[in-house]
């Protein structure tokens, strides 16, 4: 049971990092960027090449910076010119960006499964009588540290404040001298870097192949559960999705076999639907008041 929970928290940490990227971009630009899966896979691929030269840990940092840089460039050339257009248009452009970046990343993956060179593999550790995989712990700790840093960034730095201001009210922020363009760029860069790290953790143990990007889609129910514009919600949503999925993988076959063998696959979406019915803005989202 504890093993299952920790597996869920490990995978959930990855979903949380991806979900944070979605939410950061959404808060800054009011657009859901569908380019996250491609940044995730690009990060994992970059690590798989860099780790051979620099070692795993430095490779993760470099890959995160690299993908953040790529995201900045893409934002500048493909997204910025579209500001002012309907958000739907920008979302569709982000889909196109996803396909393009993914095809390029697939070129680097080639025909093989690429290894990210992580130090954990499938090694186990026994803590208080429970045997768990080291990489689950690594995922959780890394996500916790990153989330902590991110919250400090938003609370205590000029850029963080600028991003919060722009998210709150773009025009007023602009009037106060906040460069909204910089905020957009920064949000894409941050989302890219987070996705790259998430991708690396997805690749620990089994490696990455051309199919791995699909995992990034689990972040969508996570952000709906947490609330589209809540950073804390993204973290809680991601972890919740990971734990629910892991519990379903382990126990649904015994408890509710009539649901079929692969019910775990749809559990994130079931949780999402339930949350949407009860709280349409997500657990931590801001309810919008619209006057009709």
């Amino acid at each position: 049971m504890i093993e299952t929970l920790i597996r869920g928290l490990g995978n959930g940490s990855v979903y949380a990092l991806l979900a944070l990227g979605f939410v950061i971009i959404y808060k800054a630009t009011r657009v859901i960027s569908f380019a996250q899966p491609s940044f995730m896979i690009a990060g994992a691929v970059a690590v798989s090449y860099l780790a051979e030269i620099t070692g795993f840990y430095l490779a993760v940092v470099l890959a995160a910076l690299l993908v953040a840089g790529v995201a900045l460039v893409i934002e500048r050339i493909a997204i910025r010119p579209m500001i002012g257009r309907p958000v739907f248009v920008i979302a569709i452009i982000s889909l196109g960006v996803d396909v393009v970046v993914r095809v390029v990343a697939n070129g680097f993956i080639g025909t093989d499964v690429r290894q990210v060179g992580d130090p954990w593999g499938f090694s186990l550790v026994t803590l208080g009588g429970v045997t768990i995989q080291q990489r689950w712990i690594a995922m959780f700790v890394a996500a916790a540290v990153l989330v902590g840093l991110l919250f400090l960034f938003f609370r205590h730095t000029r850029y963080g404040l600028a991003m919060r201001a722009a998210a709150f009210d773009q025009e007023t922020a602009l009037a106060q001298g906040v460069s909204v363009g910089m905020v957009f760029a920064l949000s894409w860069g941050l989302a890219g870097g987070l996705a790259a790290i998430a991708g690396t953790f997805v690749g620990t143990g089994q490696g990455v192949d051309q199919l791995t990007w699909i995992i990034a889609l689990k972040a969508l129910p996570a952000i709906i559960v947490g609330g589209l514009d809540s950073l804390g919600g993204a973290v809680i949503g991601g972890l919740a999705i990971g734990v629910v999925e892991s519990l379903a993988q382990s126990y649904q076959g015994d408890v509710a076999p009539w649901l079929g063998q692969n019910f775990a696959v749809v559990t994130p979406y079931v949780v999402m639907l339930v949350v949407l019915l009860v709280r349409p803005y997500g657990l931590f989202g801001t309810p919008e008041v619209e006057r009709v």
Partner: protein, 429 residues
Amino acid sequence: MNRNIVIVVAAVLLLSSCGVVRGNEEEQATGGPLAAGVTREPCPKAVDQAKGCIYLGTISDLTAGPFAAQAVPITKAQSVFWARVNKAGGVGGKYEVDVDTYVRDNKYNPETHRQVYNEIKDKVLGIVQTLGSPTTAAILDDLKANSIVAAPASWTSAWEFEDVILESGAPYCIEAMNAVDYAVETYQPDSVMAVYYPGDYGADAAAGAKIAAEKNGVKFTAVETPSGATAQGGAITAITKEKPDVVIVTTGPADLAAIVGQSAAAGFEGRFIGTGPTWNVALVQSPAGPALKALYEQSAPGMPWAADTPGHQAMREALGSVTPNDGYTSGWAWAYPMKAALEKMVAGGDISRAGLLAAVKSLTTVDYEGMLPPEAGNYSGDPNSAVFRQTLINKVDEAAPTGVTTTKGFYTGPTAQAYTLDGPCFTKL
């Protein structure tokens, strides 16, 4: 008046584009197309300008779909296969074959597959590669209606029941039967578990494993698993909880690594046998490598890259310095029946789709240059007598170019030998 002229011109254009009004009947005499996809003019990259050209189409998963990693080498191998045929004098000394002009990407989407098929179908004589089962199913009715012969890039047992489908090697179902028979003989298991993807890849193999387990009186359980590295928890829990003696796996390589690596880490000591597509050479170096070396074998419909046959030799020479991959091996081997059928069609004189289909139906053996036994190319007779029932077992070998070497050559297990193929296997799971 002017308006009427415009209407008449528009109507003529419309009708002629629909093929109702045609002014090209004399085209055959002046060197136009002889039949759909066959011209008197040489191929764009002709070796001999005096020969005509047979165009064959390829619809594969070339960029964004899940099987691009296999599809790209398959397509490349087929391109160099036909270049070699053309260099050696073409088909029947009269035609060369072009497989490079009509290559389309299906993104593994049946709708896209049908769309690109419609784009190219009037320009090709046959399809040299149609990748995927659901995608091929989307065009199957049209293939049949137009007698277009197509070679699939998949091994589901459903293809045995289609005349227009030119499949090579044993289907997954037979492969899994042989894998279970091999395991029974080698490891004397009391229980067998099939871990498989839903659909006619995984389910076809799982059905074969079930049939063989029942025949051998061994306990059988089936665990369906979705694709995705974080989605294998359920399968791993099932394996470590039920502790079967043998697990037959039908997934992709990354998921195989997750399943074997994590089950072994949790103390599982049973055997794994995976179907052909579960393996990838990079797994040797992965964290799951030691577990795979200790517990895993690969069942396969054909010999790996480094095998010592004239066909393998020719393939390696033709491809030059590529990174070895058994996608190349499959793509190359799959092309032989099309070559045999085209030669028979040209020899028979009926250069048309009907002629090609008739040639296919009359093939009882195909020269695979040793890559597969000649009887694997039997396309005449009923599915049960024509189906090829031999597969091999490979073991992990770090020194081999694609990471595996054959430990048990082509064989038919007792289950597959006695089995009557009276419908696609996956319907029997």
